[in-house]
Amino acid sequence: MEAVYEKYFRDNLPHIWCPGCGNGIVMSALARALDKLGYPQDDILLVSGIGCSSRMSGYMDLNTVHTAHGRALAFATGAKVCEPRLKTFVVMGDGDAAAIGGNHFIHACRRNIDMTAIVINNSIYGMTGGQFSPLTPTGKRATTAPYGSIDRAFNLVDLAKGAGATYVARGDVFHAAQLTNLLVEASRHKGFAVVEAVATCPISFGRYNNIPEPADMLFWLRDNTVTVQQAAKMSDEELTDKIIIGKHFETEAVEYCEEMARLLADKQADNEKAGDENEV
């Protein structure tokens, strides 16, 4: 893998992330993906929410916006509609995207607006010290689920697909090269693309769930991930607790900014015509 750090990172590192955190792996995957995509940095918009992962916007040398908790997609939608030329990436955490920002998430999927939503899923609220999120698997422990979570978890892939996203993939921080490729593919896709990046949080998740060592968390990912292709040949029982990685879904649908442009062109033409008639 090529080192592209100097080009895409600001000079305000080091970052705030804990030792063993997966966020840096996702950030480097994004940097490599941007390098492959070759967009001018001035034309890239990176919007993030609030949480550990969302600090990424401060580190990358792009047009960056660190928004409010859960609201990254709302900010990005307004910016993208007004400036469709901006290649837009939105980085959120699992609580950020699926809990407080859940409404914005499903509606961004529904609109099919052309941007790449990266949901870094470490199964926990890390910045506040380890509370369970809507993506924490049932039974896993957290500071607010000391006896194991009784909540059912979202399957973000199914949620995104059901809500209307036109590209849905899941990667993880053990398979960093694949994650890079998924991000490239997601960005090239015309429409709303969701990439769930399953990440490690040894401090706030692993520690409460008997995997406190960073390396062990990565091995846990290695041992519990199966590709979409492998999963197709496996039974539901075999797939219990497995994380299915790869491209899950891609389809074509009308993209929001293009539809907006069409509406504006039509109505402006009608307006000019009406104006000409009034003059006569």
Binding site: S57, A74, C82, L263, Q268
Partner: protein, 399 residues
């Protein structure tokens, strides 16, 4: 509607006048969510914006609405929304974001009776303090309050101008009565209103203050840093975290304090330029009625009737609510014998007006009404007459 000048007088609704004002001001993004009694604004914009090549979006809720507005404004568009109490409440967190990230925005809040769902189709000046202190933390804000349909048009234009000039969210506090009022509207003989754009404040000298590097939150003498929209070649960072001049997080005590003071002072230090009041017969009056919004119309009627009965009464109408024109009020009212202030709430702004008169010795009487109805002239007249008697001000008498 765009050829409005040829039509001279037309019957127009307050909400429509706001929409028309926004179009005139150059608004190019609307993000909103339907809510009574503001919905006519969204409907008007949904119809007119596409014809003008501008963006109307109906969002999933009010939080998304203001989020999208902030995004649109960051990349250089004049963004606005229309809402009412419950929706305005949902927007509060991001109003704080817009204050801290210094994002120009216009929020037209057509105030309805609250709290909660309240009386959705009935008026109350219920959001006076929500507009000022609805979000957490110290910040300043601009809020304007028109009293007629025609004024709603010019107030909206002014709101956009002030938002750009001071890099701040601006709230237009329209009460339901003005929002839904239909009255004559004729701007055909008026001068073209001034339209202020963001680029008016960006010059090379200002942007290169940081040694060739653009500082999006520079400590400029005016307190307002020039705003180069995101995506136009200056790659910089926005955050709701307390930030340094370059826009990055800082917890340094001195930098935090400098930032906070600039954020408040950039507006509060310019109160005399921002805050507009209108005086009717205040000079020589014994009693001044202070009013704003639709209530000012009743107050004016009461003033005229009282004058015909021989009372020396004037009206001080607040066209700007925040920043509060305390100094102007003190100057106008300090030598009076009585000040009364009718409001369609439990006296939200009376607290400020009373504070402005502390030490002047002028008796201050707050008239409140919270029954979902516009205050009529009669109770204002009655209060003035009773209070004048109580404070021994003779009818038509001098000092």
């Amino acid at each position: 509607m765009t050829e409005i000048k040829n039509k001279h007088v037309q019957l127009m609704q307050g909400n429509e006048a706001c929409a028309l004002g926004a179009i005139k001001a150059g608004a190019s993004f609307f993000g909103g969510y339907p809510i009574t009694p503001s919905t006519e604004i969204a409907e008007y914009i949904a119809r007119e914006f596409p014809k003008l090549g501008r963006y109307f979006m109906q969002m999933e809720d009010e939080i998304a609405s203001i989020g999208a507005m902030i995004g649109a404004s960051m990349v250089g568009h004049k963004a606005f929304t229309a809402t009412s109490g419950p929706g305005f409440s949902l927007m509060q967190e991001l109003i704080g974001y817009a204050a801290v990230a210094e994002i120009p925005l216009v929020i037209i809040d057509v105030m309805r009776f609250g709290p909660s769902t309240g009386l959705p189709t009935m008026p109350q000046s219920g959001d006076i303090m929500q507009a000022r202190w609805g979000t957490h933390g110290d910040h300043s804000i601009i809020a304007l309050s028109p009293s007629s349909v025609q004024e709603a048009y010019y107030t909206t234009i002014r709101a956009f101008n002030l938002a750009e000039q001071y890099r701040t969210p601006v709230v237009v506090l329209l009460d339901e009565k003005i929002g839904h009022l239909r009255e004559g509207f004729d701007i055909s003989q008026d001068l073209e209103p001034e339209i202020i754009n963001r680029a008016d404040f960006v010059d090379k000298a200002a942007t290169s203050a940081g040694g060739g590097k653009y500082l999006p939150f520079a400590n400029t003498p005016s307190g307002v840093p020039p705003f180069v929209p995101l995506g136009q070649g200056e790659r910089y960072h926005f955050t709701g975290l307390t930030h340094n001049q370059a826009g990055f997080y800082t917890a340094d005590a001195e930098q935090v304090a400098t930032f906070m003071h600039r954020l408040c002072h950039k507006i509060e230090d310019h109160v005399n330029e921002i805050a507009e009041v209108e005086q009717l017969d205040c000079a020589g009056a014994d009693c001044v009625i202070i009013a704003y919004g639709a209530v000012a119309r009743s107050a004016q009627e009461a003033m005229v009737e009282l004058q015909s009965q021989g009372y020396k009464v004037g009206l001080l109408r607040l066209k700007t609510i925040w920043p509060f024109p305390a100094e102007q009020i003190r100057e106008i009212c300090a030598d009076k014998k009585l000040v009364v202030m009718p409001e369609m709430n439990m006296g939200q702004l009376a607290v400020e007006a009373k504070a402005a008169l502390i030490g002047s010795g002028v008796p201050f009487h707050s008239i409140t009404q919270v029954n979902g109805r516009l205050i009529a002239p009669a109770p204002i007249m009655q209060a003035v007459i009773e209070q004048m008697a109580e404070h021994s001000v003779k009818q038509g008498g001098g000092r």
